[in-house]
């Protein structure tokens, strides 16, 4: 890991885990994790099933609390700047946040209203994701991959967000869907955004960044 001295006045965006420790009952799930996700990097968290990837991501975005340690955004604990951090955060979790009784459009309209997204772009984003023809059907009737696409449409609707925390964004997607997600993450990195994600699929070579393996940390 390199130590960069920041010369310019503005601090670049950075999401950091500082000795994050999480217990699951009596078992130590994550032991003092230190992690730094920098602007422009795609930081990948690797590990076997059950190694705590999802739990770590939930702590990183503030959905869950660590038993010890803190998560910092630009050097300040996120617990001290809840609203400011949430405004810059885009999280797509293990559960997609898509209501089965609502159509794709209704789901995304609410997501845009909650997260200052661009409502007028919904149709074109759904078109790019090839789900515009089924956008008026309740999401519960769509396939897993199509529901995943509805959730991922938020990536294109909220380009102003600075910190993306994505849990398995490529799961259930076909090649065209994976390419679309990759292009969105690439564009976000080029805007100088922070990306933290987990995946079991190989990532495109265009996406650069460190890989933190939770298995290796266990062994070491």
């Amino acid at each position: 890991m390199t130590n960069e001295t920041i010369i310019s006045g503005a601090v670049p965006d950075c999401l950091e885990a500082v000795s994050v420790t999480i217990w699951r009952g009596e078992t130590l799930l994550l032991d003092s994790i230190n992690l730094q996700a920098k602007a422009g990097d795609v930081t990948q968290i690797a590990g076997a099933n059950g190694s705590g990837k999802t739990t770590l991501l939930r702590v990183l975005c503030g959905a869950a609390l660590a038993d010890e340690g803190e998560v910092h955004w630009c050097g300040v604990p996120i617990s001290k700047q809840r609203d400011a951090f949430n405004e810059r955060l885009l999280q797509i979790g293990h559960r997609p946040g898509v209501h089965a009784q609502l159509t794709a459009i209704e789901n995304l309209q609410l997501a845009c209203n909650m997260g200052n997204g661009v409502l007028s772009n919904i149709d074109s984003v759904l078109d790019a994701l090839a789900i515009l023809p089924i956008a008026e059907i309740p999401a519960g009737h769509l396939s897993a991959g199509q529901q995943r696409r509805v959730a991922l449409a938020r990536l294109a609707l909220m380009p102003h967000t600075r910190c993306w925390v994505l849990d398995e964004p490529l799961t259930a997607l076909d090649q065209q869907g994976r390419d679309w997600v990759t292009s969105q993450i690439l564009a976000h990195s080029e805007r100088g955004g922070v990306t933290v994600l987990t995946t079991h699929q190989p990532l495109s070579k265009n996406l650069n960044g460190p890989i933190y393996s939770l298995d290796a940390l266990d062994n070491g």
Partner: protein, 234 residues
């Protein structure tokens, strides 16, 4: 560089959340039709069980109608946050920069429109069935208007606290919330009894207004805090 978009106002956000809740509820009518049917069925069974003596019925009418309303609201509330917790919407609400209490208020108002307002509308018919004095019916409706809103606001705290419990949540929620709802029951049925016996009802009704004001100002905050805990546990 993208221009930073402006946040929509809280009123617009509230309206969009309210229409979402109503759209969801209209597509799954069982959730809010059941409590209304429960209310009607319980009250229509009383004349059959107690016997149709007009005097007996009119004495017990205020209590029977109010207890049925209380139970029907409590039974309906268990599932208030279940779907949103399990499909991840609640996590998105918690992680947004918008205040969670606005989400709670929108949910409460939507639920009242679907499961509270209908009780109010059928109550005159049931009051006649129970031989309640005609002059007490406007007071019954007014007390139910104030009372059901308070009950749903208070019940939402319990629903949020027990959202992660699963099947046993209903009983636990009733245990937690019923003590808090007793004042509403006492002053609600008290107002109707007073009206039926030509006594002044101002005192009872103003206490119901006070309870509503208290619930309206504190319950959304408490519910939002409980939802944050539910999301972080889940």
């Amino acid at each position: 560089m993208d221009s930073h978009p402006q946040s929509i106002g809280l009123v617009a956000l509230f309206r969009s959340l309210l229409s979402r809740e109503l759209a969801v509820a209209i597509r799954s009518p069982g959730q809010w039709l059941n409590p209304i049917l429960f209310f009607i069925i319980v009250i229509t069974l009383f004349p059959l069980g107690v016997g149709p003596g007009p005097n007996t019925l009119s004495i017990i009418a205020p209590g029977v109608i109010w207890v049925s309303a209380l139970l029907s609201v409590m039974l309906s509330l268990q599932s208030l946050f279940y779907d949103d917790l399990h499909n991840g919407s609640l996590e998105q609400f918690v992680l947004s920069a918008q205040p969670l209490s606005v989400v709670v208020l929108a949910k409460v108002l939507a639920w009242w429109l679907l499961a509270g307002l209908p009780l109010l509308l059928v109550s005159p018919l049931l009051a006649i069935l129970m031989n309640l004095q005609g002059s007490a019916i406007p007071v019954l409706m007014l007390s139910l208007l104030l009372g059901t809103l308070t009950l749903i606001l208070v019940g939402a705290i319990g629903a949020a606290l027990t959202a992660t419990v699963g099947n046993g949540g209903g009983i636990l929620m009733s245990l937690l919330v019923l003590p808090l709802t007793v004042p509403v029951l006492i002053f609600g049925s008290g107002a109707v009894q007073a009206a039926a016996s030509q006594m002044p009802v101002g005192g009872h009704l103003s206490l119901l207004v006070a309870l509503l004001a208290l619930a309206l100002s504190l319950a959304p905050l408490a519910t939002a805090a409980a939802l944050r805990v539910a999301v972080s546990a889940g």
